[in-house]
Amino acid sequence: MIGIGLSTYVEICALGPSQAMPAGGWESATVRIEPTGKVTVLTGASPHGQGQETSFAQIAADELGVNINDVTVIHGDTGVVQYGIGTFGSRATAVGGTAVYIAIQKLKEKAHKIATHMLQADASHVAFEGGKYSLEKAAAAAAATGTSDPVVPVGEAPAGALPEPQTEGKTSLTIQDIALAAHLAKELPPDTEPGLSATYFFEPKNFTFPFGTHIAVVEVDRDTGDIEFLRYIAVDDCGRVINPMLVDGQVHGGIVQSIGQAMFEEVVYDEQGQLVTGTLMDYALPRASHIPEFELDRTETPSPVNPLGVKGVGEAGTIGATPAIVNAIVDALAPFGVKHLDMPVKPENIWRIINGH
């Protein structure tokens, strides 16, 4: 007896505008480029498995043109990180990642100013690409003299003390050059604070609205009421995807939690108020052997709410999957007039329906 269950959802994520939140809906970030050229990201988000240590490092590495291994993301230490709101409501990347992104734009603005000054050029002649501030071709030809500084490969420490940077006749400067110069403070433009650090508190103007469709195909064993997954398909739209593996992981986890809710998990008390499902010997969590192969796909509709276009995906799996699964079982039992089933749907319930017990 085969059943197909469908669920389409729209959800509210990236909590959220402070007006609508109990104690602030913004998120904070501080991004520093150290004198060594390494990047430190302090985030008020508080990942606990969601992977922002990686995705925020990706944002910083992409935006600054640095090696991702030179970025350190720090979170959760209230002695070190400025106040933040945290990770919940699918907000860490949409709100926290945006704070990181905008802080970096502030850094790049200052670095551009310093580069322009050090290259002794017009601001409009200096462009940032691949981690370097470079003179446009014509201005570059006029300035070239052939001197060069010792090159320390990115990601390594220098073997000895570096000589002072020579900028006479340079046509480009790396962002690491700028960071060092910002701390040595010998060639800064007038009225420029030393250092290269920016903090931003991003206040979102709205929530975001991810959406998707999940489909479960199940087979019910007439004799035992056992439920087997034949296929499980999910297509979700969480806006722009920074790290596909992290997004897939979130969807996997959500679907597995839904399988638990739909088919296994229940908290039961007896008439005396004694908890009967008190240990994992009685409370059934979904296990690898219970889980089907997932067929996952995506669409990417960037959100207009933040410059990254990210919506959030932490809960999508649980929202889409639970109804798809129960709908599939209900569909399989449609010949028996079933229109609804309470969760968890257990084989004995199904056997009783089929056999009229």
Partner: protein, 288 residues
């Protein structure tokens, strides 16, 4: 919780182990894999004063053949039984049953002797040894005795082991002629224990009719039991679908089935019928 305080000894030989048990008949308990005993001690359901650890007595773990017998030492682990290529050839019910127990970690430590001596109402080994009509060799202060499996499992968590006795060997007559075996298990989604577990050992006549059947059930009653009604109904039949259907109707005869949050007594009996049928059909299909 943590266990009540206890002493712990590691005898080097079986004789030493028997002597240690005899020194404290009430308070001493045998420890092998520990995966039933230690959880019970942590819940303080068991409070032995002395643990006699026989897991390190190497001479107690073996899989041997002598004549038409398979001899299995009591401290042979589930893993050793699961991975025995020889048993997969000559008595595949044993590795199939072993493989269904717990998980990898449990199978690396748990022993066939411990499982039989503990006699959990959902234990897998009791069903397998009942279906195979095994002999169990016990050793105690008064010497050795052999008990048939069908007399060994007495009641809930209660066996024929007398105070001071240790199960040391399981003996199984090598299946011969045309035979087929199967172990069907419905695992509880949380604990993994058998909601029902059915062990099937079929021996066929040359014409394909049923010469004898060993059918044993675990998970349904207070202890594992032989479904003698099913066995008798199968004997002499051609093992066609009707014969099997008629036979499995007897699988819960005389049994008051267990009932819990996952499966009521009615449903459990129904599962026992379904899986006995499937076990017989699988065993029949495997006959050479």
């Amino acid at each position: 919780m943590i266990p009540v305080q206890f002493d712990y000894k590691t005898p080097a030989t079986l004789d030493e182990a028997v002597a240690l048990l005899a020194s404290d008949l009430d308070g001493a308990k045998v420890l092998a894999g520990g995966h039933s005993l230690i959880p019970a001690m942590k819940l303080r359901l068991a409070q032995p004063q002395l643990l006699v650890d026989i897991a390190r007595i190497k001479s107690l773990a073996y899989i041997r053949e002598e004549g038409d017998q398979i001899l299995i030492g009591a401290t042979t682990t589930h893993y050793q039984l699961e991975s025995s290529d020889r048993l997969k050839q000559i008595c595949p019910l044993l590795p199939e049953c072993a493989k269904s127990i717990g998980d990898v970690q449990v199978r690396n430590k748990g022993t066939i002797g411990g499982s039989i001596a503990h006699s959990d109402p959902a234990g897998d080994w009791p069903a397998a040894v009942l279906a195979l009509n095994a002999d169990l060799v016990l050793v105690g202060p008064n010497g050795e005795r052999t008990v048939k499996a069908e007399s060994f499992f007495v009641d809930l968590l209660t066996t024929d082991l007398q105070p001071g006795e240790i199960l040391r060997e399981v003996r199984i007559r090598k299946p011969s002629g045309r035979f087929g075996q199967a172990y069907q298990k419905v695992p509880h989604p949380a604990s993994g224990f058998a909601v029902v577990g059915i062990a099937v050992n079929l021996e066929l006549n040359d014409d394909g009719s049923c010469k004898s059947a060993g059918i044993a059930v675990t998970g349904v009653g207070v202890k594992a039991y032989r479904a003698t009604g099913v066995e008798a109904a199968l004997a002499g039949t051609s093992l066609d679908d009707n014969a099997i259907a008629a036979a499995v109707a007897h699988v819960c005869d005389g049994i008051d089935p267990n009932s819990d949050l996952y499966a009521s007594g009615d449903y459990r009996c129904h599962l026992a019928q379904v899986h006995t049928r499937r076990g017989i059909q699988t065993a029949k299909a495997r006959v050479q």
